[in-house]
């Protein structure tokens, strides 16, 4: 295996791990995989949603995973 192979493997692995980490991190934070946050969504939450603290996290309950 050449050093160039190792570089390419490192790049691809980094991209894949980075993508998985972002998805996992969003999942843990409860962010929707649609990528939107509630400031970018015109009508998102009502009955089951609780108070959203804008200064802490722009994601409201509707975008959190149950």
């Amino acid at each position: 295996m050449s050093s160039a192979d190792l570089i390419v493997i490192a790049i691809i692995t980094a991209m894949a791990i980075g993508a998985i980490y972002v998805l996992w991190s969003n999942h843990r934070k409860g962010r929707s995989s649609c990528g939107c946050n509630c400031s970018g969504c015109s009508k998102a939450c009502t009955r089951r949603a609780s108070v959203v603290r804008v200064e802490d996290d722009e994601t409201c309950d509707c975008c959190r995973k149950d």
Binding site: V8, A19, E55
Partner: protein
Amino acid sequence: MSFTIALAGNPNCGKTTLFNALTGASQRVGNWPGVTIDKKVGRIKGTDSQLVDLPGIYSLSPYSPEEIVSRNFIVNERPDAIIDIVDATNLERNLFLTLQLIDMGRPIIVALNMMDEIERMGDTVDVEKLSAGLGVPVIPISAKEKRNIDMLVSAIETVAENGTAPKAVTYDHAIESAVEAAENALSGKVPDESIRFYAFKLIEDDSAVNELAPGARDSISSTIESLEKEYDDSADSIIADSRYEKISEIVSGAITRAPRDEKGSLSDRIDRIVTNRILGLPIFIAVIAFVYFIAMYDGDLGTSPGAWATGWLNDFIGDDIIPSVEEWCVDNGVSDALTGLLCDGILSGVGAVIGFLPQMIILFICLSILEEIGYMARVAFVMDRIFRYFNLSGKSFIPLLVSTGCGVPGVMSSRTIESEADRRITAMTCTFMPCGAKLPVISAIAGALAGSAWVAVYAYFGGIVLVIISGIIIKKFKKFAGTPAPFIMELPPYHAPAFLSVAKTVFDRSWAFVKKAGTIILLAMILVWFLKSFDWSLNLLEEDQLDDSILASIGGVLSYLFMPLGWGDNWELPAASLTGLIAKEDLIGTLELLIAEPFDLDISDALALMASATAGKAADAMILSFFTFNMFCAPCFAAVGAIHRELGDWKSTGFAFLYQCLLAYFVAVIVYVVYSAMLGGLDDVAWYSIAFAVIDFVILAYFLVVKDPMHPFDKKGEVAE
């Protein structure tokens, strides 16, 4: 000191704009009523006080989820003070809520918003007289221009610190007597400070108050009867009329209106055309066609800005970036497998999706401007008339509009619909609309069909038609039967689009698309590359051995399912549809990897070649069938998850998933056969496709026309078993 301040007001009176001005937040502001559905909390700049932005409401009756959220917050959380934001250009209607808030007994201040509009119209408001009439401080402001915001903050802190309850606004003697009797009946059962509010609600026969104080209304029934007899009206109407009379009295002394143009305002004149019973729908179709034309058209009339920019970006990725990386790999002796994964898998797949970003940006700009200027609120009004004709609620149309950005918030926004049946139907069907993720699919297929904008218009209005068809079909089942929920929507005045608001919406949506390309789509492309490059024995295949790959065998099994749709002969297309369930853009990435990149073609040309080789004269019909199925079948997993959260159980979610796929299948077969016949290519269509189309047509016609709706109510108005 630290206070909790509630921000309450009517829908579309500038509440979210004021919230942003007070807190420095950047919550989405929309020019249609109901942008704020939940309550949001922020800290008022320069203070320790927190501001709770309540949903826009017209009254404190528990008729809608928004009213319940607001009412419960004020009653249960007891904010230190309330900022009641009032639209100065529409005082009479806005003050109805103000009078109810005053009755709640919490310290309150009125923020008289849109004073810039008042000045522009030449009207004047005597703020002191208004304040004296209401018995609460009134601060004239312009949230949009951030005028008098500091004065408002200072005044609300003073009011909260003093904790002074507002003086009650009084009505006729008979009403006051009834209120006094109601207060006595409620004494000890509700908070003292809000007892006047509860007393009015008891007289109005409010169900929540009746639950809170059982028997209280019975104890004052004679008082209410005599009140109703005296006014010859029902108690709730008497209270409402009295409030409006009082408002009229207060406002007439406080506002001086400049003479109006008899033809009405500019907004009124525009509305006469765009909401016209006959012209409204054709204008909407023309507007949407124009939007997609700007974003996507590439044909005889020229190339639209969106198509030009996308073409440039695709060329840059395909002709510059990927060959450069490939050259570097070859020069440095990178193995064929790794070069293939990097260049033919990741860069080609993700690049094929990212290439459509310019078109998406232009589409998002156009849709945001339409929404910002207030046109989309008119569209909801126009569509309500059509939806109602088909026994659907016009309220269902708002989620459809939201779904054109992303299906997930679209599904979530169905929560605003009070009727459970309508809410579930809307959550199940709003993803028929073409979301941003479907745009690359639309664009690629449009190229294959030698057209462009009309394919997008077909997807947009096809989605609306399928929602209507679904509404008609599903409402014929007892579980979903019922009259549609009422839809009341205020039409806000037109105004010029705010650059920052449009820019923020476009950036949010575009950035979400880029993030998605770098995560879900990247991983999916690695998976697709692996599945197409290896066989079941994990041998690396040559480019001409694609048919032996793992993906080919999966696609091959699925292809039998899609034979009647005309594209089952090519395993690549069913395989691409399958990956489209992960994210719709994956469909494009997969097609790039399977049919375009190996032959050095772009997706549109590759699809057109494949179709003409497979279906002859019916080639375009085959492509349209493939497009129809993928536009309207089950959405991506994220949206399915959102549907599950809305429907509450996997059984209903499974039903929704199957229903969407089945309906898309039925429609795609019919489209394939009918369009083939129109093209004169029926000879190239298999007999079983025609048979399937006839059966599908009969089934759809049965549910749409023949099957009787199951009426939930019998003639006596009782629920039928």
